[in-house]
Amino acid sequence: MIGPTPRSVGTPPAHRLPRWVLAFLGFAAALAALVFLSPVFGSVRIPWHVVVAIVLHQVTGGAFPTAPCGSPSFLSLYFFESAVTREGTARLLSGLSTSYGARQCAIWTTIAWDARMPPLLLAVFAGAALGISGGALQGTFRNPLVDPYLLGLSTGAAVGAAVLFTFNLAPAQQAAALPLLAFCGGLVPGLVVYLAARGGGRSVETLLLTGVALNFLFSAILDLLLLYRPSSNINVNFWLLGGLGDASWTHDAIVLSALLLGGTAIGLYGRELNILQLGSDVAESVGVDARRVTRRIVLVTTVLTATAVAFTGVIGFVGLVSPHIARRFVGPDYRRVLPVVALVGAVFLTLSWDIAETVISPIVLPVGIPTAFVGAPFFLYLLYRRRGRAVGGPT
């Protein structure tokens, strides 16, 4: 496949951690840092050490020093701060305990935790869901150019979800009904793509163009649905380009559950995905039920994508770019790619969300804009590099 692969694929020396474990730990650390620090940014800037304190306080269920800010027992923060700036040390010496009032603290807590954390976590979970979906789909279709967005899965799911809003079907149980409807919407392109890929002998181009056609079709339906009730309180941009601003803890919980279930289900197919790279005939001859694996992966990625899309709208390119980054770090073995690609997707979408929030603050961009700015050129790069290769790459 495309994507630079490490020259040496042998086992590393015993005294060092394997490369893929290092990559996994590295991305996990980057993600943790992002989660701790991202609430700093936005229309209101909050000192970063306060954010860290608030997050620690909330995450540990209060075990960390009771008052998130203004408490004199901030020993750890003292070390953080003093290590970074002299000003911080001075501020600490001048009496941290009195520098921020309790009211200020409450406001910051509300902003950092109650307002900023749900979208941030949604970015983490949805990014992971899209990343792992992209990785699994690229493996299943033996094709480095597919992702849930380009195949039309995302837009289809958005149509399903939009039905709920435009017809005001069940306002009370929206959170639960949304993913279901989104899943139904995503099943249509999922099925078409599955049939197109199963036809055998079809080229990458056929598959991608099928996705493009479906994308246009579903975008049109989506527009139709959104225009059908122009008075209703629907943010068109949210659906077409993705938005995380409306996230709630409930949404996070639903996407996380889908991610855990779906991610585990896909993760169990690492070996099968490896063997599928040799073609479905060879895979079947060594005992892999290629059709069943493909069916299940398309189904599970549809669930994952639909659940994410139901709460984030259509976000493109996360599923396209992340697997390539993951492969670059861990090589072509899907048993390693799948866990790492989830982390990469999460980091990618979280960073994009930070950019969307800050780049022309206080206006928050649809998160699909920064992902497209990174993803579209990357897609072209892959496409032309692929064209340039005379041999290799399955078609």
Partner: protein, 442 residues
């Protein structure tokens, strides 16, 4: 492979359809443990399709394929993979995984779901790699292997399946001749030692005859012949199935049959009524003239030869090409009869080529008889290879050659130069359509 001793893979009136086209037509065939069956036939005869049907990848329109009484088509995939290994002719490039991991893919059906490869799997991978002589590359990436190494890796992957049946579709098509023979020999010894039943699709009928216990020949989906190579191979079969005229020979050491194809007739210039192709007489012996005879005949010249001794390999070639030849008894000095016959051929030839034959007292006359004809007919002497003695007539051979050269004969550096010289000296006689003609028609 215990318990496989009496078992085998059996096709019973197997028929495969692709839409309206019937690719395999009611083929009944059996291969038993320890046996190597070669499936031969021209391109598109249904070899690959039959193998795919045997491994259950193509549904049968009619008939059954079974192993040990169990129908292959309805076997669960994992169980089938432990029974039948299949190596396709082509396969997708795949990822740049290590050779070891690639071969381990063959163990898929042996490893329980959601488990890692165990000690037994690692042993099977190691012995499969050893069997194709790739053990030292086990850490290499698949993309870093050469084409031949990759093909051996694919064979190792199939061997690692440890299936009692192996279906190998053109297993050696990307290999050079050395590796081809090496791999086929290994496959045969694996079949023998481990009691595996092997079906080998081969388009090279001679390789099939050399290695297989039995040969099955497919033609347009039909099974037209099956049996031991010595019974199946014949010129008639080759003409019928491949559309190629070939001579059946027997390898003198092994006694195995092999076929030597002739160039298709269309490559020869057609003769027109009233005008025959220019005739070239070749003087040779001791195998020196074989290549010249063959080349000239292939290029469309009419050829004659003499004087040759019976059973000389030149004589065998001349006979095979249906070349008029002046013959003499083995090892006998050239007698009056053979020299007269040779003289007739010499006198009516448009050009004479002298092969670098070893000259001894018995055939010295072949050179002497040329002298009177130097002025009448263009004669070329192909120089003997340097460093190899050719004159066993106490210098009389060398003297005769020099006399010919002095009298105006041409000296050619090698066999390759013969055709150019002929075109040059027959130029005046070559009409627009490029077919050399005889003096008689000038």
């Amino acid at each position: 492979m215990s318990g496989a001793a009496s078992s085998g893979l059996r096709a019973d009136r197997a028929t495969v359809r692709y839409g309206a086209r019937v690719a395999v037509r009611s083929v009944s065939l059996e291969v038993t443990a320890g046996e190597l069956l070669a499936l031969a036939g021209p391109n598109g005869s249904g070899k690959s399709t039959l193998l795919r049907a045997m491994v259950g990848l193509v549904p049968l329109a009619d008939g059954t394929i079974s192993y040990d009484g169990r129908t292959v088509e309805v076997q669960p995939l994992r169980e089938r993979a432990r029974t039948i290994g299949w190596m396709p002719q082509e396969e997708e490039a795949g990822e740049n995984v290590s050779l070891e991991q690639y071969v381990e893919y063959g163990r898929y059906a042996h490893i329980p779901p959601f488990s890692a490869a165990g000690a037994q799997d690692r042993r099977a991978v190691a012995s499969a790699l050893a069997a194709v002589d790739l053990s030292r590359f086990s850490d290499r990436g698949m993309r870093e292997l050469s084409g031949g190494e990759r093909q051996r890796a694919r064979l190792a992957r199939v061997l690692a399946q440890e299936s009692p049946v192996l279906l190998l579709d053109e297993a050696t098509s990307h290999l050079d001749m050395g590796h081809q023979l090496d791999i086929l020999a290994r496959v045969r010894s694996i079949a023998r030692q481990e009691g595996r039943a092997v079906v080998l699709a081969l388009h090279d009928i001679n390789l099939a005859a050399r290695f297989a216990d039995r040969v099955a020949v497919l033609s347009r989906g039909h099974l037209v012949a099956t049996g031991p190579p010595s019974e199946v191979l014949s010129s008639e079969l080759f003409a019928e199935v491949w559309g190629v005229v070939a001579q059946l020979r027997r390898d003198p050491t092994s006694g195995l049959p092999y076929l030597v194809p002739e160039l298709p007739r269309a490559a020869r210039p057609s003769r027109r009524p009233g005008r025959s192709a220019a005739r070239v007489h070749v003087v040779g012996g001791g195998g020196s003239a074989s290549a010249i005879l063959r080349r000239l005949s292939d290029d469309g010249f009419e050829v004659s030869a003499g004087v040759l001794h019976l059973f000389d390999s030149d004589t065998v070639v001349a006979d095979e090409l249906h070349v008029p030849t002046a013959l003499e008894a083995p090892f006998a000095p050239l007698g009056a009869d053979s020299r007269r016959r040779n003289g007739e051929l010499l006198d009516t030839a448009d050009a004479i080529v002298v092969a670098p034959f070893p000259v001894g007292p018995s055939n010295l006359a072949n050179l002497h008889d040329l002298l009177p004809r130097v002025r009448r007919t263009p004669i070329a002497l192909v120089a003997p290879p340097s460093g190899i003695p050719w004159d066993y007539a106490d210098g009389a051979g060398t003297a005769a050659r020099e006399a010919l050269l002095l009298a105006g004969a041409e000296s050619l550096p090698g066999v390759e130069a013969v055709e150019g010289w002929l075109r040059g000296c027959l130029l005046a006689t070559v009409p627009d359509d490029g077919v050399p003609t005889t003096r008689a028609n000038r």
